[in-house]
Amino acid sequence: MANPCQLLYCHCAYAKVVPREVKQEVLKQLSESGVAFDAVADLCEMSARQDPALLQIAQQENVRIAACYPRAVKWLFAAAEAPIQEQTHRVLNMRTESAAEIVSRLLSTEEITSSNEDMAAVEETPIEETQVEEP
């Protein structure tokens, strides 16, 4: 399935605050969907390390992030000096929403706009996108 969005899934691996059945179901359905996606073990841990990957994600456009509360994700990125903006990044909350809702919104073909109720943040300059690529 073609999906123009960059999809990022956070597994919140070091705590039990995201319901296990929700995150496992989201990951399972993403795996079954046929779309490409990136998955990280824990955005909190990456923020504490100021992992440069956060800046790279922040600089991408049309990104959907399955994680936790949008306010928490926004400030985790900001703390790593990688602010995200709601015009380009949509955060979906696996702590409060069902797996079906999350997956439906992750795979939606709708463009992210500033009028979307979910948020995220950031950079204006696009970066080199590809490390490994196919012709």
């Binding site: 070091y14 923020s47 504490a48 100021q50 990957a53 409060t96 590809t130 490994v132 690529e133």
Partner: protein
């Protein structure tokens, strides 16, 4: 502050040109097992591109038709690519064998394994923070500091005591989050009118206690320690600490300071030195803030 460090490497489950696709279950099980162990994983599908996330090493796993997929290369020449065939034996053995393969490669390349720390630390919501410096003054463990331009910031995340959200409880602006906390608004949930009403009722903790909060904490701890050393009775000591802790919690409101934090407070001299240093930093930052207002 923790130095900015990229994760050691990223695992790529490659299913693009020159490879056979994995089954959905195999893809899910492998991704899940790797994430549980702290690895970042990218799933690349036919025709797909891999975004640059700044990793120096990519471990590319797949059911390649040849030794490795054709045309897969680092476009910028900045990434080391390690290819591993997921042969039938590995696929049949399941996710555990994929994990074993990744860990064996990690050991061979002498890469530091991921994880090992529960990432518990405060995150500041700068839409709400008024830079009042209460958190800087309150925290005894040097988690907070002041930036070059006089703003409060979290500087030593790993100093934070796991499961202690006390600084967020004393923040008058509900501006401190702990994303791994169980409940809102500390966990980042939107702030509702009840939360704001509660914050409006907050009073200065020092004046509430009629003095220095640290002095009170320390006093409780010292008294308890003194009794413990005389009695040398572990069970009674534990009970006493629990009693003191309960009293302390009641006295301070529900700050949820874990018992181990109370029992490991620094010495009185250290606390006084920290309080003086925090006061100096806060005053300097607030003066800087005032000055910049005048300049504007």
């Amino acid at each position: 502050m923790i130095s900015p460090v990229a994760a050691s490497w990223r695992v790529v489950l490659y299913e693009g040109e020159g490879s056979h696709p994995l089954g959905a279950d195999e893809r899910f099980e492998a991704t899940s097992a790797l994430l549980e162990r702290g690895y970042a994983v990218s799933n690349v599908r036919p025709g797909g591109r891999l975004p640059n996330l700044g990793h120096a090493d990519l471990l590319v796993l797949g059911r390649f038709v040849g030794e490795k997929p054709p045309h897969v290369e680092d476009a910028l020449g900045e990434v080391r690519l390690h290819f591993h065939q997921l042969d039938e034996g590995i696929i049949e053995a399941g996710a555990a064998s994929v994990l074993a393969l990744v860990e064996a490669e990690q050991n061979e390349q002498n890469v530091t394994p991921p994880g090992g720390w529960k990432p518990w630390f405060p995150v500041i919501d700068f839409d709400r923070c008024t830079n009042c410096m209460q958190c800087l003054s309150f925290c005894l463990f040097d988690v907070y500091g002041v930036s070059g331009d006089g703003k409060i910031q979290v500087q030593n995340q790993t100093n934070c005591k796991t499961d202690c959200p006390a600084c967020s409880r004393v923040c008058p602006d509900v501006a401190i989050l702990f994303p791994k906390y169980k409940a809102g608004p500390i966990n980042g949930a939107e702030i509702n009118s009840d939360d704001l009403r509660r914050e409006a009722m907050k009073v200065d903790i020092s004046s509430l206690l009629g003095g220095d909060i640290y002095a009170l904490l320390r006093d409780r701890s010292e008294k308890a320690k003194s009794r413990f050393s005389k009695e040398r009775d572990d069970e009674r000591a534990l009970k006493e600490r629990m009693r003191c802790l309960k009293k302390l919690q009641e006295g301070l409101g529900d700050l949820e300071i874990p018992a181990e934090v109370i029992s490991s407070l620094p010495s009185m001299d250290e606390i006084q030195a920290k309080a003086a240093e925090a006061k100096r930093k806060a005053e300097k930052a607030l003066q800087q803030q005032e000055q910049s207002k005048h300049d504007v």
